[in-house]
Structure formats: C-alpha cells, structure tokens
Subunit: 346 residues, 3 copies
Amino acid sequence: MGTLRLSDIAGRLGLTLQGEDAEVIGVNTLENASPDEISFLANPRYTDQLATTKACAVIVSEEHAGHVRRALVSQNPYQDFGRVLELFARPQGSFSGISPLAFIHPEAQLDNDVTVYPFAYIGPRSRIGSNTSIFPGVYIGEGCRIGQHSILYPNVVLMAGTHIGDRCILHSGCVLGADGFGFARTPQGIQKIPQVGRVSVENDVEIGANSAIDRAVLDATHIHAGTKIDNLVQIGHNVQIGQNCFIVSQVGISGSTHVGANCTFAGQVGIAGHLHIGDNVTIGPKSGVAKNIPSDVVVGGIPTVDQRTYMRTLALMPQFPDLFKRISKLEKELEKIQKGSKEDKD
Amino acid sequence: MGTLRLSDIAGRLGLTLQGEDAEVIGVNTLENASPDEISFLANPRYTDQLATTKACAVIVSEEHAGHVRRALVSQNPYQDFGRVLELFARPQGSFSGISPLAFIHPEAQLDNDVTVYPFAYIGPRSRIGSNTSIFPGVYIGEGCRIGQHSILYPNVVLMAGTHIGDRCILHSGCVLGADGFGFARTPQGIQKIPQVGRVSVENDVEIGANSAIDRAVLDATHIHAGTKIDNLVQIGHNVQIGQNCFIVSQVGISGSTHVGANCTFAGQVGIAGHLHIGDNVTIGPKSGVAKNIPSDVVVGGIPTVDQRTYMRTLALMPQFPDLFKRISKLEKELEKIQKGSKEDKD
Amino acid sequence: MGTLRLSDIAGRLGLTLQGEDAEVIGVNTLENASPDEISFLANPRYTDQLATTKACAVIVSEEHAGHVRRALVSQNPYQDFGRVLELFARPQGSFSGISPLAFIHPEAQLDNDVTVYPFAYIGPRSRIGSNTSIFPGVYIGEGCRIGQHSILYPNVVLMAGTHIGDRCILHSGCVLGADGFGFARTPQGIQKIPQVGRVSVENDVEIGANSAIDRAVLDATHIHAGTKIDNLVQIGHNVQIGQNCFIVSQVGISGSTHVGANCTFAGQVGIAGHLHIGDNVTIGPKSGVAKNIPSDVVVGGIPTVDQRTYMRTLALMPQFPDLFKRISKLEKELEKIQKGSKEDKD
C-alpha cells in the first residue's frame, strides 16, 4: 500500500515493464487516471483512450505496448488489473483484536489473531478460525464453525450450527440458517415442519449483501467451494450448489434443488424445487426453471428452453400483431376462393 | 430432546408402533438415517429405500408397515414426520433472562419470562408479552406491542407502533414498518408523502429473513393470523393479507392491494397496487398480476390468466418459429392458387 | 404533535377554510376519520364518501367544497394531504444526544446536534453532519461522510468511504458499499477482482429497507440528488442513477449501467450491465432491459419494447391456442382446394 514502483509491480506479477521506472499510488480508468496512477486496457472499445490517458503506466497486451509512455505488458490485462488492484486494496476496517464491547460466550473458542468488533455476538460452542474478522452487529449462533482468514461484514447472521470454510467473505446483512419454508396444510390448520438441519459453506465462497440461505429440514443446505453468490439471493432449504458457480443478484432457488459445478445463473432467475441442474449450465436473466437441466447447456426463458430457441422466439414477439392480421387475411382470401370455386361449379 | 423411546413417540402422537420398542436420538432421511434415528416415507418416489434404510424405525402409512423392521403407522406420514421433528427440535439459543448488555427503555414494559439478548434495543412505551424472545441486534421502536411466545431473531427491526401477535416467528433481518414508497411529483420537485400508519401482524404469523413490510400511509398494513411469509418478500404500504396464506420468497405486493384467505403465491410473483385478490387463490411462480382476481382460481403468466390457458400458451411457445414458416408457406400457396385461378379465367 | 386548529393549518399551507374553525388531532381516510380528524378527497372514486364521512374537515378541490361541513380548499388535494400529514408526522424516535452505549471512534467527527443511538458504530475518519440521526445497529465504516439532517434507520450499513448527502433517508437494513460482483474465471480458478471504489449518494435521496448498492471497482457508484429507491433493490457496481428517479421495489440494475434523470422503473424490473438509459424513461413492471433506451419513452416486456407494442402483444397471448387451430384449418382447406383444382384439371 501507499506507493509502489512499477518495477516492483512488474516483478511481483511477472509482467514486463517497457519504459522508465516510476512510482504510482493507485489504479484508475484510462479516462480518469492521474499521472501517479496506473491504468489498464482490457476492452478493445477503449483503445482510443491510450492516446489521451494521463496514466503513469498502462497494463496492456503486447500489441498495444508501443502506444503508451510506460507499459506493463500482460498476456491477460483484465486478470492482471485485478492482481494490481489487490496490491492497492485496503481492508474495510483497521481494527484488530477482540473488542471488550463484543459479547463472546465463555464456551466459544477463538483461534489466534481473530478480530472481533464491538457489538458482535458469538454464541456458546462456536469456534472461529485464526485471522478471521467479525464486524459489528454480526450474530454467530450456537455451535457454529468458521474457518481461517474469513470475513463476516456487519450484521451478518449465522444461525445455530452453521459451518463456514476458510477465506470466505460474507457481505453485510446476509442470513445463513433461517428456517426453511416448510409447512403442511392440515384439517387443523397450517402445521410448521420444524427445520432442524443447518447451512454448510465450503472454502473460498463469497455471499452477497442481504442474501438468505435457509437451513435444511434435516442434514444441510450445502454451498461447495469457490462459489460466488451476489446480493439479495434466496437459497431454499436442502439446496446443494456445486463448486465455482456464479449466482447473480436476486436469483431464487427453491428447496431441495441440486446444482452442479461451474454454473452461471444470471440476475432474477427463479428455479423450482426438487430439480437437478447439471454442470456448466448457464441460465439467462429472469428465466424460470421448471424442470431438470442437463450439463453443458445454455438456456433461457420462462420456462427455460435452449437459449437459441429462446432468442428466436423473442425476436418474433414484436411481429405477433402483424401475424394475426396475416392470418385473418389468409382466411378471407381462402373464403373468397372457396366461394368463387363454388360459383364456378354451379 | 436427547433420546426418546419409540413407544413414547407413538403414544404422544397417537401412532401405532409395529415391531420391538427401541430408543432414537433424532430424525433423518431414509437414505442417511443411522440405526439410532427415525425416518419417514411421505413421497412414493422413495418407497424403494424402505428396503435399504438403516433407520431404527420409519413413519409409514399402513400399506408399507410390513416392509420395515419397525413401523410407526400413520394416516399422514408427512404431517407426523413434522410432529416427530418437533419433539427433537432445539431452540436457536439457550440464553434466558434479560441481558444487562441490552438497552431497555425505562418506559418499556416486559411481561414474565421474556428473554432479551445482548445488543437488543427496546424503545419507550413498547410492551413485550410473556415468553417472547428478543435476539441480538433486534430494534423495537417506540410504542410497539408484541404478544406471547413470539420469537424475534437477530437484527429484526420493528419501527414505531408495530403490533405483533402471539406465537409469531420473525426471521433475521426482516424489517416491519419502514416508510411506504409514497411521493408526489410536483412542479417544485418530488414531495414525500409522510407515512404515519403502522404494521399490524396477527397471531401465528411467520415472516422470512430480510423481508420488508412497509407501514401504512394512514391506519395499518395488516397481516392476518396464520399467514406464512418467506424470505426477501416485499409488502407495500396499506396491503392487507388474509388468514393462512403462503407468500413464497421474493414475491412483491404493491401498495393498497388486498389479499383474501388461504392464498398461495409462488416465488417471484409481482402484484400491482390497489387490487383485490380473492380467497383460495393460487398464483404460479414469476407471475405478474395486473388486475383483480376472484376467489378459488389458479392463475399464472404475465399478466396472469387461468393457469390452464397459461400452460397451453407456454407449450406453444417453442413452435412459434415454425408457425411463422407455416404462415409464409400458406401465403405463397394461396398466391399461386390465386394466380392460377386468374389464369384459368383468362 | 398534539392538536392543530384548522385556521392554523389553512394559514400555514395557503389554503382557504370554508366553515367554522375547529381543532383536529390527526389525519385519516374519509371512511375511517373520526370527528376530530381531518381527511382529504384526491381520487374521484371516493366522492360519494363526502356525504357520509365523520371527518371534522376535508381537503378538497373547489368544486367539492360545498359538499362538506368544513372544507380546506386546495388546488392539489393529494399534495396538500401530504403537507398536512407532515404537520402531524412524528419522528420514529424521540432519543437525542450521543448514547454512551454507541461506539464512536476517537478519530470520527460529529457536528452539532447529531443523534447517535445505542449500539451504533462510527468508524475512524468518518464525519457526520449536524442534525443527522444514527439509529441502533448502524455501521458507518472508515472515512465516510454524511451530510446534515439525514436519517440512518436501524441496521443500515455504510462500508468504507461512502458519501451521503443532506436530508437523505436510509431505511433499515440497507447496505451501501458492499463489494461489487467482479470475478474473472482463469485457468487457475476464479479470481476476485478487488473492488476499491465507493458509493456516493447526493442530497434528498431515500433508500428502502434491505436494498443493496455496491461500491464501484474504481471511482464511485453514484446516486444523484432527489432519487427515491424502494425496498430490496439491487444496484450493481459503477451504476450511475440520475436525479429524481423512482426505483420501485425488487428492481435490479447490473454493473456499469447509466440511468438518466426523472426515470421510473416499476417493481421487479431487471436491467443488464453496461447500458445507457436516457432521461424520462418509464419501464413497466417485471420488464427485462437488454439494450440501451433513449430518452422520453415508455417501455415494457422481456426484452423491453415500446409499451404499446408490448400491451398489444400481451392482449394477443390468450389467443395463441386458437391461432394454431386457425392455421391448421387453413392448411387443410388449402390442401383441399389444391387437390380439387388438380382434379379439375385432370
């Protein structure tokens, strides 16, 4: 942090510096970068801006290295932009240690170098791994287990028995382990089916602000390693999500549905319960999934169909009013012909 | 909790035990149950698993009682599964009493056996009924009333004047009583219409994690007894929801809409404002409701139509590209005939 | 509030009082008003209720002034209803001063007459303008700036560097400044793109309960003055929203999309990323926006088209099953004719 020399950045990331060495204090867009900031070109749309940027240096692919004063030559400028950002990123909070204003149950167990902010609550028999940070207003219920180097941002809630892996990031206000939506309509009225399972989240998972992942009826709702979940996502009880999925904002996945690995669900997708979604499945925005989806497909629509079929159907939509006119015209013409042919015969 | 004898469970629930008595420590699926757990068969799909389950005993209907080592014979295995779960369910927290780390206004009134966790805030002139639990981070504004045996999980917010009945469950992060979305565009800019009403929730209501129910402009937004609301649901100002409804996750109901009793709204449904929805109405997932709906119907689609019409329309969707081809062909054929018939006459 | 004289209300708002002066204690609907409350007629649907209301006085346009015992004659009764409500509206909480149960970092700076409730957390180098209220459970991260006369309701979260203007209202549980959803799939797995920007909110903005506005990758996600955002709305990283927009509940706006001024997005709309939406754009409920939208249009549908085209298409939907029948019939008739004409020729 603070300032970094370009040669140092190049060395750390394995990039080639073309041009004189210099010091930079941060990262910015080509358009807004000042002469002490580094920028990047990842999208060809912005190539023109290489000529006008004030950036001290630009992360570019080899072909563009000649067009800037100083280049950090990269085989994947977007990815290396991310890695440079990491050098400059500051943590959300500089607090360390255990605040005396937090509530930590005597039967909770904290490993080394755990940070606990004021007004966090850690319940009995919960265990927090080393170097994990617990921000204000976080609630960790009874018997939870959290790994190392994880971050729980303000007002995150983990209900009893929740497991969180290492290097997870839980954004503010997400709730893990609330009761699943399980009820039976009976002659005596609605009966709640008690939810006695839990939520289990593996390593390297990120969960967005105000998302909700319900505990299982029995056993566990399970999020596998590396999966990234956006804000305001709903995940029902007993759902299983495979490794390295992207679940974009406002998606809802109903109870007991199983999702494979490496899937991408775009915003506001809804998935019915008790379904199986394969690996490498991409679902377009706002789609509604009503049945199982095999692996390696791209689907869209309500209900989902093959993405190309869906796009073709969408393209036809504005022609519908015209279609009805064409059919009415056909009917009239046909009638005319039928009349005429009848007259001919008479 | 702990262990229970099968004969004891049978006695409490009015079931018949077939087979030797034994002790069980919990409930699990047929597939995962260990020899000291009880299981159940509610879905015929899983009948095969009766042969292989390791469960100590299975809750089954009479016809399957002969296929397991020990049977708890039930007329409604799913419902009785729920009742057995209740015997084993543990509360989220074992804390009791009033934490000295909570803030309780001197003018608040707490009845007997109220539990208040650390960092809860209870405002002046609010009253909490006996045996109700208030978890950490809960905010109870001024002049609220909460009944008996209710649970407010972490970070629930009740703004001023909110009423909650008996035996309600409010899941983490739900917000009751935020201002309705009321504004007037005027020549002088946007003017806020102050929202001075409140939220009123009757007995036996459950509200999901991070859901929002807005206070009324005047009077009250009202949720009637027994209704169950899932996570991330939005309920606008002055909405009325009748008894024993199920409102599934991510549904949005706009201001001043009235909903009858025993309705079920599936996930991600949206309902416009100022509408009347009758009793016993079922709305399919992702539907958009733009006008009133009478009682006793099942609807779906955007905008909603009778569910059968909707399903028929959906089934036709993939045939649209073909449809256009058929019409173009018809037009060409007709033209040919018209030309031919003209030539005939010439 | 207490009581107000009608003549006093008329004087403050520039209305004409017709009828005897009297005292009122609140505002209510025509139907529910008691004899010490004031009511209003803004919607012609309710004109009949003028004859039966028990209200002490009614805010009406001139034409209806003769039909009530006491009239407050207004050129815009709905707007003046809002202004009268303002006279009677009470703040959510009567607390004032800085609670000793709050955590305020020694390097935070609070201007005059700031209210801080118990269990609020204010981080280092943050500055709060005068007359701003911070409710319980609010988290204000490092280096935030909040203007004057703003209200942060319970459990609002502002991550590091967030800026909030004057007279803003942030409803409970909204989260500003969580990380945007930025990842790169690489051969080595998923790489997080650090999000180092912030959220900037101008004056007179209102943000609903449990909404989420993500921080920018670089620079700022920006909400311009006067814009009102409802509950459970998702706003992605680097989004810009112009002045005086209405963003209704459960809308999702993906990253880097720019929205002009005076737009209205109805409930559950979804907007893809990197788009430009003009000024004065209205988007109908549940719409999905997949490309740029010019200014001054009304659109609807998935994907959005001109609203009239959309409504016409929707109206045709229920006729689709019939349409298929008509086409099949046409095909058969045509075939008959073709056969017949062939026979004629033979």
